[in-house]
């Protein structure tokens, strides 16, 4: 069951005024322009024991993604494909408002939006993850771990996911006899078959203004937000509106235009970070 979040009702009026007054003057409370991301950093290989990993910061928002692989069975309706599982945990370490417990609707939504933005354009060639057709395939777990929540979790998580997946390597398959697959867990050999890079650009609407990469103060007062997945070819590969208010059609059109532009920059930044390793 989904409930109106308590926070929505209790944002201090003053903060709301500050955010909006700032926008009216054409700037944001932290001084950025409407189309500016905060500073982005990408650290690769943070968790050497994982198949792939990346720590990404957008401003003070910090997400660690670890990719693990294991041998398992394919889904019954996809016997010739490996399995990708995307999970997100918002651990209580990351925010004074988080409590321990199973993933809440926000963590689930984050994981599922990212999952679909990977799955729908077939960013990973899952068919190359088959070992014994119909019986044994690679299961790829992409675990999103939010360490510090200061707004725009989804864009940060998508970047960290992409960086972790694109640098992930599968262990060596030592032998396959019937259904018995032996792997050498200590190895990292074949790269994960990632054939397409995807980023997500979230566009927030606050009092009629559209802006990218909302920080946590902006998120607390926004009317609505559009999370837009864009692949390296400039196609829209996923979208999700969130927030308690609406968009007009022309706002949606503007948001998409903005997202396509920023997505190009994010793709370039990500490629550079990966090239630099």
């Amino acid at each position: 069951m989904s409930l109106t979040p308590y926070e929505f009702s209790t944002v201090p009026r003053l903060r709301k005024l500050q955010v909006i007054n700032s926008l009216r003057k054409g700037a944001r409370i932290d001084g950025r322009g409407f189309e500016d991301y905060r500073k982005i950093t990408i650290e690769l290989g943070t968790i050497p024991k994982a198949a792939g990993s990346a720590l990404v910061r957008i401003g003070d928002t910090t997400v660690l993604v670890g990719v693990k692989t294991e041998i398992g069975e394919p889904y019954r309706d996809r016997p010739l494909e490996g399995v990708l599982q995307v999970h997100a945990e918002f651990v209580p370490l990351a925010s004074p408002t988080f409590e321990p417990g199973p993933p809440d609707e926000n963590a689930i939504e984050t994981a599922r939006v990212i999952d679909r933005s990977l799955r729908e354009p077939r960013a990973i060639k899952l068919e190359e993850l088959t070992i014994v057709p119909g019986r044994k395939v690679w299961i790829v777990f992409n675990d999103i771990y939010l360490l510090d929540h200061n707004g725009n979790i989804v864009d940060t998580s998508m970047l960290a996911t992409m960086a972790a997946l694109r640098t992930a390597r599968l262990p060596r398959v030592v032998s396959v006899e019937g259904d018995t697959v032996i792997i050498d867990k200590s190895t990292r050999e074949k790269p994960l078959p990632v054939q397409l890079s995807v980023v997500i650009v979230s566009v927030a609407k606050i009092n009629g203004y559209l802006l990218v990469d909302p920080n946590i103060d902006e998120e607390s007062v926004l009317d609505a937000k559009l999370m837009i997945g864009v692949d390296e070819k400039g196609r829209i590969v996923g979208m999700q509106k969130t927030g308690q208010r609406s968009f007009t059609r022309s706002e949606v059109d503007q948001a998409i235009e903005l997202a396509l532009k920023k997505a190009g920059e994010l793709h370039t930044f990500l490629n550079q970070a990966l090239a630099g390793r």
């Binding site: 109106t4 019954r76 979208m239 396509l260």
Partner: protein
């Protein structure tokens, strides 16, 4: 079992069930179908069948969740175990949790929650038979149930999914088209205001296709909105 992809757009340009790309499925709507609920509606889009009930505004339970300045909306999208091809476990799935949120947020935009501080408005959506478009059918039914409960809204919410199948943009996709198509885009709007309260895209579209798909949705939602008003009219003005 993996099945071969069926033909979704036939040589004559019609869809697998004979519809034109811009056709809705046969739609049924009935308001006030439950005795206990303060408002309720049963909506069918083809074989998709969803019932929604509204309780409230009523005292928030437990009390500490109440909001000082508006009604709290609690929303649950839930599928009956027999609604799906394979029996669905009654425990809420991750999908149901996400859709409960997406639908709640769509309704928040429509309801004048500020009129009922410290209360709860409960929206319960039960999918009885699923054949594609359950979230949009559920949202459409929920907004009717809210109206039936007499809860003031900026506008009704009408919702439908558009899709891309065999390269063609089509309105109101069913389960087969969802499963084998290239994109599924559920859209919910307040038709009179023209505003978008629900928008998801599962699939790949070029920016141009996206705009055309949204056009198609708006066109279909005009008809959905008309049927919603008709259903309310039938209950409240025709003595039916």
């Amino acid at each position: 079992m993996m099945h071969e992809k069926p033909i979704l757009i036939r040589e004559d340009g019609l869809r697998h069930d004979g519809r034109k790309p811009e056709d809705l499925r046969p739609i049924k709507m009935r308001v006030g179908v439950l005795k206990n609920a303060d408002g309720s509606a049963l909506v069918e889009f083809g074989k998709t069948k969803v019932i929604a009930a509204v309780y409230g505004p009523r005292e928030a339970k437990p009390r500490h969740v109440a909001l000082p300045d508006r009604a709290l909306i609690r929303c649950r999208y839930h599928m009956a175990p027999f609604s799906t091809d394979d029996r669905k476990s009654p425990a809420p799935s991750r999908r149901e949790i996400e859709l409960s949120k997406v639908i709640r947020e769509a309704l928040e935009a429509a309801v004048f929650t500020e009129l009922y501080p410290r209360t709860t408005i409960d929206v319960f959506i039960e999918v009885l038979q699923a054949d594609g478009g359950t979230r949009t059918t559920g949202l459409t039914a929920a907004s009717l149930a809210l109206a039936d409960a007499g809860i003031p809204m900026r506008d009704l919410v009408a919702a439908v999914a558009v899709g891309k199948v065999d390269g063609v943009l089509v309105l109101d996709i069913d389960q087969l088209e969802d499963e084998y198509g290239e994109a599924d885009m559920p859209v919910g709007i307040m038709p009179n205001l023209g505003e978008i309260v629900l928008l998801q895209l599962n699939g790949v579209l070029t920016p141009d296709e996206f705009r055309k798909a949204l056009d198609l949705a708006y066109r279909g939602l005009k008809e959905v909105y008309r049927l919603q008003k008709e259903a309310l009219y039938r209950k409240y003005y025709s003595g039916y």
